[in-house]
């Protein structure tokens, strides 16, 4: 029996048992998650459908965009899969405890790399089906396409996502292998290069698009459109292939499928080849490094000095959390990727000529940007802040037996996370408003919302993390996917909608002239009071309940 076959059989047992565990869980929890997923998918489908209808009603540019939207969608999914693959490949290939076990078993390196790549590909792409299904369903309904459209999409999606995951995995292995982790000069040069590139892009976008250039063209409106429909791009192969099959143009459809599948297989071969040559060395480098590190980064020393104002026990806890964050590539890389993408997008808003749009549109975009920053804060809060207390796990005796009171532990965790999220959220909102040339009221409101959402997300995640603390689980993903983690995510989304929607609706009503200015100010004051009340409630209540739970808990 081949080794991959044995792994395959093991995986079948694994999924069967996972199903068994799932069936043994509380019915309420399963129904709660299922209902949430259905509502989310339905809501997304309705939103997409409304968007398609809007574009077709727009005529002209709208119709052209609609015709090419399918390719653009696959380009976006492809880019997201590649980015997701960076993080997932790193954790499955270099951080998984399974790898040393496989390395001491009779597997060839090709077997191990292939198996871990397939695992990464599945893990980094499955969640995109949650976006693909409502988008494609809405597109099919709007364009009156048959059921075969879904089938062809599924057929094309598998090699397409495999190809994107292959690109991500290859880049990850090579970067991890040759990233100059100990060479300060090389790191500084690399950092300067990245900063220079960002600065050049920023200066270009700052000077782009003066008022007399209002007659922008379609490619300026959606820069990705020309890239997505290039015949060299896999997104075009998928879009064109699926539409050819829907139109019963079999020859063209099959040919494009063959092109996509052949490239996916080539990606697998490249991953195997790179893996065979450098995986083992790279894994050793990550696992055993270059020996004992005696140096303490200057950043931590300075941080310790800067935190002298805190009580020694609180300072110890804060420093421990900051060190853990920076020494865990999963945490800082995901934060950097999420916020980095948003910062890059906001810095490039003027390339899209959004700042030349009418006020109503700019306000809408500004609020969509608030929404995207809030969504990232919400996902980071759920992923990293919520499991913080549980992850103390078996080490809780250190904190639990120290003179730090549970309330102080909770508040320290809350304030440390808030100190991380708040400046980033505020800076992003300020950047977005500046690039959009939004008026001072919109800028102030966007920044206020970033502050409120950072506080609410951190308070909810810390409080619920204490209430549903699981000291036996060491896997953060398992902690997050438990009942408390799911509840935390849902409540975060509810709070996010409860804060953004009223203010967004109010501004929309004013911009469309439905609400006169005199009444607008009165409603605005009421909405700000509502925003602050929701924030205080979702920050303080979970923290109070969490500290009570910590006080009563037996360890």
């Amino acid at each position: 029996m081949s080794h991959l076959h044995a792994l395959n059989r093991k995986n079948r047992c694994y999924w069967r048992n996972t199903g068994r565990i799932f069936r043994e869980q509380s019915r309420f929890k399963v129904m709660f998650i299922a209902a949430f997923a259905i509502v989310l998918e339905g809501g997304l489908a309705a939103l997409f459908y409304d968007g398609f209808r809007f574009l077709s009603e727009l005529g002209g540019a709208g119709t052209v965009i609609l015709n090419r939207l399918f390719a653009l969608f696959f380009l976006a999914v492809g880019i997201m899969t590649v980015i997701s693959s960076f993080v997932i490949t790193y954790s499955t290939m270099f951080r998984s405890q399974e790898v040393p076990y496989l390395l001491t078993s009779p597997f060839t390196l090709t077997d191990i790399v292939t198996y871990k790549f397939l695992e990464s590909a599945v893990l980094c792409s499955w969640s995109f089906f949650f976006i693909m299904v409502p988008f494609l369903a809405a597109y099919a309904i709007h364009e009156h396409l048959s059921f075969a459209f879904a089938l062809w999409n599924l057929l094309f999606s598998i090699p397409f996502l495999g190809l994107c995951a292959g690109i991500g995995s290859s880049v990850t292995i090579l970067v991890v292998r040759w990233f100059p982790r100990r060479n300060r000069i090389a790191r500084t040069v690399l950092l300067l290069l990245v900063l220079s590139a960002v600065l050049i892009a920023y200066l270009k976008t700052w000077s782009a698009g003066s008022e007399d250039q209002l007659q922008f063209n379609l490619s300026a409106l959606l820069p990705g459109l020309s890239l997505a429909t290039s015949k060299w791009m896999p997104s075009w192969w998928v879009a064109e292939g699926v539409m050819s099959l829907v139109r019963n143009d079999w020859w063209r459809g099959v040919m494009l499928f063959a092109v996509t599948a052949a490239n996916a297989m080539l990606a697998l071969l490249i991953v195997q080849e790179i893996g065979q040559r450098v995986f083992w060395d790279t894994w050793q480098l990550v696992s055993f490094g270059t020996g004992l590190r005696s140096s303490t980064p200057a950043l931590f020393t300075r941080l310790r000095d800067a935190l002298q104002i805190l009580r020694p026990d609180v300072r110890g806890l804060v420093l421990k959390d900051i060190r853990t964050f920076f020494r865990d590539p999963m945490q800082w890389s995901q934060t950097l990727i999420f916020f980095g993408i948003l910062a890059f997008y906001f810095a490039n808003l003027r390339s899209f000529r959004y700042h030349l749009f009418p006020d109503a549109w700019r306000n809408t975009i500004a609020f969509l940007n608030v929404f995207s920053v809030a969504a990232v804060m919400c996902s980071l809060g759920s992923r990293f802040v919520y499991p913080q207390l549980s992850l103390e796990g078996q080490a809780f005796w250190t904190i639990g037996l120290s003179p730090l009171t549970p309330v102080r532990v909770l508040l320290t965790k809350f304030l440390t996370a808030l100190a991380g999220l708040l400046p980033v959220g505020v800076a992003l909102m300020a950047l977005s408003s500046t690039m959009l040339r939004a008026d001072s009221l919109i800028t102030a409101l966007a920044i206020l919302m970033a502050c409120c959402l950072a506080s609410a997300t951190t308070g909810l995640s810390t409080g619920l993390g204490a209430i549903y603390m699981d000291l036996h689980q060491r896997n953060p993903a398992a902690i997050v996917s438990g009942f408390g983690g799911t509840l935390n995510l849902v409540l975060n989304l509810v709070v996010m909608l409860a804060t953004i929607v009223p203010l967004g609706a109010l501004l929309h009503l004013r911009n469309t002239g439905i609400l006169p200015d005199a009444r607008f100010h009165m409603y605005l004051a009421a909405t700000v009071v509502w925003l602050i009340s929701v924030t205080l409630a979702s920050t303080i209540v979970p923290l109070v309940l969490g500290s009570r739970s910590l006080r009563e808990r037996e360890f």
Partner: protein, 242 residues
């Protein structure tokens, strides 16, 4: 059976293993002792193929661990101090999986699994998920899975962690009996009494250098001391645990 020739390993500027030369013949139970950070686990990781040596070579039954690593792994078994297990497999499924990896025929695997489960008292846990097992039961399962394919050489890092006295006795007897039947055992431990009890030969490593090698009596004669503890402390005196 195991031949280590001028083996060395550097971690950056730190030399973890200097110039290790050692031969362990077939059927011998070899205990590798040393203070924390002396190079025991590094040696074991090199022999099992987890680490690449900076210098020197090691062969297992004539197979170079670098060039013929795959063939070498086919005839060896490794029990690390913190073993990895698939939490969502049952004990039986994990053993089936291990048998598949080492191409043990299914019928033989089933019989051997039953025998080992009975021996290690895992009979009542056949369909239990690994995530539900205690630390001691997990350790017993690791022994079952590792012995399933009858390895010719067994590497063990700290063999008795988390085991009850009954299982400790069982494992000691099993290792001695297996060596009598031709299996070679290379184990590292901090429990000197274990080495005194069961080892055919003992090696003591200190700061990456092999400082003593021989049977219990030979070590006592050469380096003094009433027991292994005295000998060990004489040889490694001056080195404190990091």
């Amino acid at each position: 059976m195991i031949l280590i020739d001028h083996l060395g390993k550097d971690y950056g500027s730190v030399m973890a293993l200097h110039d290790l030369c050692l031969e362990v013949p077939q059927g011998q139970l070899f205990c590798f002792l040393g203070p924390n950070g002396a190079g025991k686990t590094t040696t074991l990781k090199i022999l099992t193929g987890l680490l690449k040596p900076t210098r020197g070579t090691a062969t297992i039954k004539g197979l170079d661990i670098r060039k013929d690593g795959l063939k070498a792994r086919q005839i060896t078994g490794y029990i690390p101090d913190m073993p990895f297990l698939y939490d969502r497999l049952t004990t039986t499924e994990f053993c089936e999986f291990t048998a598949d990896l080492y191409s043990v025929p299914p019928d033989e695997a089933r019989k051997e699994t039953s025998r080992l489960f009975e021996l290690f008292g895992l009979d009542t846990y056949r369909s239990a998920l690994i995530k539900d097992l205690s630390h001691g039961l997990r350790q017993r399962l690791i022994y079952c899975a590792t012995l399933l394919h009858h390895p010719e050489i067994l590497f063990i890092d700290e063999p008795l962690i988390g085991l009850d006295p009954y299982t400790i006795r069982l494992i000691k007897n099993l290792l001695v009996e297996s060596c009598r039947q031709g299996m070679t055992v290379f184990l590292t431990t901090h429990i000197l009494a274990l080495a005194e009890d069961i080892a055919d030969r003992i090696g003591i490593i200190s700061r990456g250098d092999l400082v003593a090698l021989g049977t219990m009596n030979e070590l006592r004669d050469r380096h003094g001391g009433h027991n292994l503890e005295d000998t060990f402390l004489n040889l490694t005196s001056g080195e404190k645990d990091p």
